[in-house]
Symmetry: C2
């Protein structure tokens, strides 16, 4: 998606340790207009899929997921990190290792909100090693729902998550794939 | 807001300990259509305010904030819980005690995303003892930005957050104020 790539080139900041900061427009401050264009693009890409629910994981996936959901006219479910007293015991759960935070989270979805009749689009802001998506697929599989595809805003093509998921047969659609970046020059190379 | 009150009566679940579960439509699964009606209502209520940014706190405030932001045509900033390696050192920070999770979070906003020229609408799903809003106001005050008001989906009128904030002169607009609820009968009494 050209608009997103251009915005990443303009406002993304490359940091040491393969960190790409996009917190001025995606995951701390959110450019709602850009998110709407992203929503339209995912609807175009997945227009053939019978999606009836969008699944993401808190916190940074939520903004994209709810805007995207408007174009599919479906509800969003977000997986929650760690047990909350507001969640019943009846949950699907998995563990997700966060690349950003260098820790492992317990992630849960109430059994009430996923069922075998659901056709799920997973939405997340980043795909790097794929741990978050692995966890969400785990939860989807546990529920008997069908995974229609995974929509990612920014894939780090130099990490193996996307490659591994596609090799498993998962339909992964990333709006921008970064194949290389350099924290000294700030250069970001996108896959064409 | 009649639509929201009706939905709370229909799908909200009262639990012991003054817990009102609305996770089937607000903060686990999200009804996007309802959120859009909520966005329109806040735009109507705050149409006189020169709002140029919406501030919320992760995670459950994000969904409402981004949908509401569409009606104001402004960006959203969400305060983050705990230090992330993706946040620069230059942050406004405060502590927020969560009623739901019974713990204290460090909450931060990058100094890049709040400035004295900002006119802020705070959005959150719940207002109970008001700790989250206190924290966000703390951050706004630290930045020199102006607080235009606080938009809440559900206020627990039997806890003192709303009363305390209004006594401080903060404009608090809650779409549904619950004055009493009973976890044995499931009854929910709204303020008129």
């Amino acid at each position: 998606m050209e608009l997103l790539k251009q915005r990443i080139k303009k406002d993304g900041i490359v940091k040491a340790g393969n960190v790409l900061k996009v917190d001025s427009f995606i995951n701390h401050q959110i450019d709602i207009e850009l998110m709407n264009e992203i929503g339209k693009e995912f609807k175009r890409i997945f227009s053939d899929a019978p999606i009836n629910k969008i699944l993401t994981v808190e916190a940074s996936g939520i903004a994209a997921a709810v805007i995207v959901a408007q174009y599919f006219n479906v509800p969003v479910v977000f997986a929650k990190k760690s047990q909350s007293i507001n969640i019943d015991g009846s949950v699907y759960s998995t563990k997700i290792e966060s690349f950003t935070h260098k820790r492992v989270y317990d992630v849960i979805v109430s059994k009430k909100y996923l069922s075998p009749s659901d056709n799920i689009l997973v939405i997340d802001d980043f795909l790097a090693n794929g741990c978050a998506v692995d966890g969400l697929i785990d939860i989807i599989n546990g529920s008997g729902a069908t995974l229609c595809g995974v929509g990612i805003l920014i894939e780090k093509g130099f990490q193996d998550g996307g490659k591994r998921l596609r090799a498993r047969g998962v339909r992964v659609e990333s709006l921008a794939i970064v194949d290389a970046m350099n924290d000294e020059t700030g250069e970001i190379v996108f896959r064409h």
